[in-house]
């Protein structure tokens, strides 16, 4: 457990850098975490982050397939928007726990 200052706020993080208190999340914090992950956030990114935050709040398991069927973004664009490991990166930026999913 560690705290780090993003956008002037002390944010609680776990060992892997995921926010432990999702309610602390703001767009400004997201922008700074994203920068650290090498992602420049656009409006489209925020749409995806909102979808991820809503799903996570519902307690749903996040999968690439779920993202693809979200109507917000297809899998191909999702991979391009969060290059590398998109599900891990996007959840980190969205301030929700890392998904426990194999698919």
């Amino acid at each position: 457990m560690a705290t780090k200052t993003y956008a002037g706020v002390n944010v609680e993080l776990n060992d892997e850098g995921y926010m432990t208190d999702s309610s602390q999340w703001t767009k400004e914090i997201a922008t700074e975490i994203a920068k650290q992950e090498g992602v420049e956030l656009t409006d489209k990114h925020f749409e995806v982050l909102e979808f991820i935050r809503n799903k996570s709040a519902e307690g749903a398991t996040l999968t690439i397939r779920g993202i693809n069927k979200s109507g917000v973004v297809d899998a191909k664009s999702f991979y391009q928007m969060f290059p590398g490991a998109p599900l891990k990166k996007s959840t980190k930026i969205a301030g929700v726990p890392k998904p426990e999913s194999c698919i």
Binding site: I64, A75, F78, Y79, P83, A85, K88
Partner: protein, 167 residues
């Protein structure tokens, strides 16, 4: 001195040589998982694994109900081999398995392949198996990049942090 430097996995090549539901999904889950982690991923289908990329068979894969000692009845009792051989049993069990997988949000084979390709994964078919079974590129899912030889396959496996996994 012993070299203890860890080389992260950068590229995987998965070889799928069998055509049962579980063999194909082992390759697909591992392939998709690798793509999700940002690992360069290539899947190579050969012999009966070709069923996973053939348009007419890909979404109708079966699991073996005969010669499969791990097979259980619903409830966990052993599944008798003689029962597995009766007409319609294999199809029924396979349909049930696909239904259970759907519940876990595991996609059909074609959708799974499309997700892998969307993430930058590449699909290849084996030339020898294609020749043997009389399969052409037209018989295969559109996302299959090419029918290639073993030599082509090994040529793709260059670089440190590359692993070949046979399922």
């Amino acid at each position: 001195m012993e070299n203890t430097e860890k080389v992260p996995l950068k590229k995987v090549l998965l070889i799928c040589s069998k055509g049962t539901i579980e063999d194909v999904y082992a390759a697909l889950v591992m392939g998709n998982g690798a793509v999700m982690e940002g690992i360069e991923t290539k899947l190579f289908f050969t012999f009966f694994g070709m069923d996973a990329i053939k348009k007419d068979t890909m979404n109708k894969l079966h699991t073996a109900t005969v010669g499969n000692p791990a097979m259980k009845m619903p409830g966990g009792l052993p599944f008798p081999t003689w029962l597995g051989g009766l007409p319609g049993i294999e199809a029924g069990v396979s349909a049930m398995m696909r239904k259970e997988m759907e519940k876990l949000d595991i996609p059909n084979v074609d959708e799974f392949l499309e997700l892998i390709v969307a993430g930058g994964g590449e699909l290849y078919a084996c030339k020898l198996a294609a020749d043997m079974f009389g399969i052409t590129k037209e018989d295969l899912h559109d996302d299959v990049k090419a029918i290639i030889t073993v030599g082509d396959l090994y040529a793709m496996c260059d670089g440190p942090g590359t692993q070949i996994i046979f399922t």
